[in-house]
Symmetry: C2
Subunit: 361 residues, 2 copies
């Protein structure tokens, strides 16, 4: 088991990464300092892990309630949170309760946001079960729900008490979800780490086959990258954390247009990365060879590199202006300039963006 | 015009107090550093001030939209916030927008919470129009909505960019609302400031007649008290800010039982203060003479000192266990021990609390 300490604003919290974490009493003894817990999860994940994790927590004398919410991005709404609060109040949960997010990105975003605002803030633990949430969304304290078809429009920054990454979860993950997680892995490499990109090129085939030694290194490495970034730029006010949005402005447009859940987040991010690379190429900031390397690695990870056939370029633009980075109608984009280097561009011509999108349809 | 600077966590913000503030262009130039604003208010306040404040803001070249929400505590819900967000997204408000809370406590709580979570946080200004919000709720960053009939169950701490207290607003305030604001004024005095209590005893009659010199001093003094407390204990984690909840655990039970809006917040707080004093007397922490002084001052301010006739003591207890200070089923109470001194009590016998409540029915 590896333990990575994240330092944010004088406080710090551990990320535990290992096999069979959900069975380890010690991890929960160290992570929970309240009398009660509420596990928030969905039906399919509950079938695999809810009993196991509940058993371990109860065995150390801590109370466990659970709330099962419907599965999928389209339930990431204030309405679902409303229901969570009603159930918590019904069971008289006070500030001496820890929420546990058992699931992927949707569960993590909803649970962290719920913890942030229940009674003005209670503790919570991330127990991410998908590759995507293990390498990215469970770390860094971004919480959110969607609103009016705009992704992650409402939320706060709120850090967990700890993050418990049980690598065994990857074994039960549906293949499509597993592959989609690699979009965020590859995103780190393109945005900030050229050595990691090369490592991924060398190992992607074995990673997809779930070579456990390699996947362990991969998850650990991503967690370390994220830790480093959020330690200096927790709330994305500097010039660093924003780079991790590479591909996301395009991706959110796809998710919102297609209806949440139709295209997985990682699948959309993959296409978004290609669109960002094409944009960078068009404005002369990325050479064609690097675009090809990027596309090639995404393809090898079974990820999509073309947008949904029914979306036109304007369908992207009309949604991209709602991006949280958009200020005064100007779309801000993270673009790669080399493999392992990226920058925010605030004045890309809209026609150029449309041209880049069109080349990926 | 007076300017009080609040220092919280390395950042600081001004409270401006004066006459005709809503007409002063300088105040808005200093307070707003975004291109656009959204004023959130209700119909009755809009009639008096919306045009005036909009005109001043537009005259300095800043855009103004407004959202009118229904009037009253019962609309302080996630549903109302949902509607606010829908309207903001429709008008494409991005992070370069400042929300302005133009109204009393309900508007302030809703607007600050909306600002805290829209796009993970945008700027906001408090422009409190009631006595209660000018002396208390607009300062200190507590935001909240009610849930499942429990008051202020969901929220965050989120500080404003500035607080604009236009004392002229008190002239248009309905008498009942004006009087109810004195419950929070008197609360400060009982909880932490014996000299202010004596001052109130000497001046309450003129204050109720809206003697402008006295009311100005009164509002300024309360703001200074609040500023001092939140500067050392922003998030109520220490032993200081919690004292300002004097009377509130009882009061929230009244508001929730009676249906929000039936009894005003200040009216309920007044009764709650008496119940707290009676509890303190019963456990031998406050002498009877002081209880009498407290009741006498509240009565002179036209405030209620007896609970609603249809509520029994158990109707209080069953709601008080949902208080945010309640941990593991134990009701925690702020009790006065002298005029100007108070403490948190964690182990008051439930029978004693019931006896104290009963004496105020």
């Amino acid at each position: 088991m590896m333990k990575i300490i994240v330092n944010i604003n004088k406080s710090n919290y551990p990320i535990y990464i290992g096999k069979n974490l959900f069975n380890k009493r010690n991890v929960f003894i160290e992570s929970i300092n309240t009398n009660r817990t509420v596990i928030i999860t969905n039906k399919s994940i509950a079938e695999f892990y809810l009993n196991k994790i509940s058993y371990t927590i109860k065995s150390v004398g801590i109370g466990v309630d659970s709330i099962i919410i419907p599965d999928g991005e389209k339930y990431k709404t204030l309405l679902t949170m409303n229901n969570i609060f009603t159930l918590m109040i019904k069971k008289k949960h006070d500030r001496n309760t820890t929420l546990i997010a058992l699931g992927g990105g949707v569960i993590g975003d909803l649970t962290s946001f719920s913890a942030a605002i229940y009674q003005r803030g209670i503790q919570f633990i991330q127990a991410p079960t998908s590759l995507l949430s293990q390498v990215d969304s469970s770390i860094g304290g971004k919480s959110a729900v969607n609103h009016s078809s705009i992704k992650n429009m409402i939320g706060v920054f709120y850090q967990p008490t700890s993050v418990l990454i049980d690598l065994n979860c990857l074994k039960t993950l549906p293949k499509r979800e597993f592959f989609s997680g690699f979009a965020e892995v590859i995103k780190y490499a393109i945005a900030i780490d050229k050595f990691f990109f090369r490592w991924l090129e060398n190992n992607i085939d074995s990673l997809l086959k779930l070579d456990f030694k390699l996947i362990t290194y991969c998850v650990q490495h991503c967690c370390k990258l994220k830790k480093r970034i959020i330690s200096v730029d927790e709330k994305e006010k500097g010039s660093l954390r924003v780079l991790l949005n590479l591909g996301h402005t395009f991706a959110h447009a796809i998710e919102s247009y297609m209806g949440y859940g139709e295209w997985l987040h990682g699948e959309s991010v993959s296409v978004g990365i290609v669109m960002a690379a094409k944009t960078a190429e068009l404005i002369g900031e990325l050479n064609q060879k690097n675009t090809k390397r990027i596309i090639n690695l995404l393809k090898r990870a079974n990820l999509k590199v073309k947008g949904p056939s029914k979306m036109k370029a304007n369908d992207y633009i009309s949604r991209m202006i709602y991006d949280k980075k958009t200020i005064d109608g100007k779309i801000n984009l993270i673009l790669p300039t080399k493999i392992g280097l990226s920058k925010i561009y605030k004045n890309v011509n809209q026609q150029t963006i449309i041209k880049a999108i069109t080349s990926c349809l």
